[in-house]
């Protein structure tokens, strides 16, 4: 697990930490896709703002949820995140830029891209 400085985002509530321990990241807006493919400890970038994103984050034991593209989570979503102790952040960054920034702090992501590149060329 690596520590990530969350400064390109803003915590959705006051008592959310400015750093998150994470391992990898998933970007998707289909909830069942997140349920099928997210892994424990990942950061989830989504555009949904409703409370169900927290239910999915709890279910998959995710490190944090970031609502991208300047969208604002519903008050109930923020309340649920506090209750379930899921770090929830907002950002005006687009999902791609945010994922790029997270990947730049994630050595395993580099290794994965390299590995994928190798297998494709073979």
């Amino acid at each position: 697990m690596k520590k990530l400085d969350m400064s390109p985002t803003a915590p959705a509530s006051a008592n959310t930490a400015k750093e998150v321990c994470f391992r990898g990241c998933i970007v998707c807006d289909i909830l069942s896709y997140a349920i099928a493919h997210a892994e424990k400890g990942q950061i989830w970038i989504t555009h949904h703002t409703h409370p169900n994103i927290i239910a999915v984050a709890v279910l998959k034991e995710l490190a944090a949820v970031i609502v991208a593209g300047g969208r604002k989570p519903d008050p109930e979503t923020i309340r649920r995140a506090e209750e379930e102790e899921i770090p929830l952040y907002v950002t005006s960054y687009q999902a791609y830029d945010l994922a790029k920034w997270i990947a730049s702090h994630d050595k395993e992501a580099d290794d994965m891209i390299t590995a994928a590149g190798v297998s494709e060329n073979e």
Binding site: D29, S32, I35, A36, P51, N52, A55, V58, L59
Partner: protein, 146 residues
């Protein structure tokens, strides 16, 4: 068959997206408190969540029943919905009858039943058009389950 060691019922409201996922979440917490193996709890929680969402979206609400037995944990999702007219199609990843409004909030991708199937050791679906659906899911408990 012997009586279950423990039986719990969770109620699921139709179109209640505010509380949707609560039954699965409560069930997950209960199983964690009982000290079941994390991987088993994870698989059951995913199956419960997907079954719960199906009842919220398609089934006019319903009941999720969890039974702990010696050899397996069983989840039964019972609804009073319209039933599934083509089960084979419903099991196909990507097929969904959900409305555009449902899809806009990230549901209805046609992944629910396939997700359940991947997580459980047994999946049984009884359904008749107009008479609701009963989804039975079982996860086997190995010797190290608790």
């Amino acid at each position: 068959m012997s009586a279950p060691l423990c039986k719990k019922e969770f109620f699921v409201q139709e179109f209640d997206f505010e509380h949707a996922g609560k039954a699965a979440s409560d069930m997950r917490k209960l199983l964690m408190d009982y000290g079941f193996d994390q991987q088993i709890v994870r698989r059951l929680a995913i199956a419960a969540y997907e079954a719960e969402m199906n009842m919220v979206i398609h089934g006019f609400g319903g009941t999720l029943i969890m039974e702990i037995n010696f050899e397996y944990i069983e989840l039964v999702a019972k609804d009073n919905g319209p039933g599934i007219s083509d089960l084979k199609l419903a099991m196909q990843e990507g097929f969904s009858t959900a409305s555009d409004e449902i899809r806009e909030i990230g549901f209805g991708a046609g992944m629910g039943l396939p997700n359940i199937k991947r997580c459980v050791n047994f999946l049984g679906i009884e359904t008749k058009p107009g008479q609701g659906t009963v989804v039975t899911m079982r996860v086997d408990l190995g010797p190290d389950a608790i």
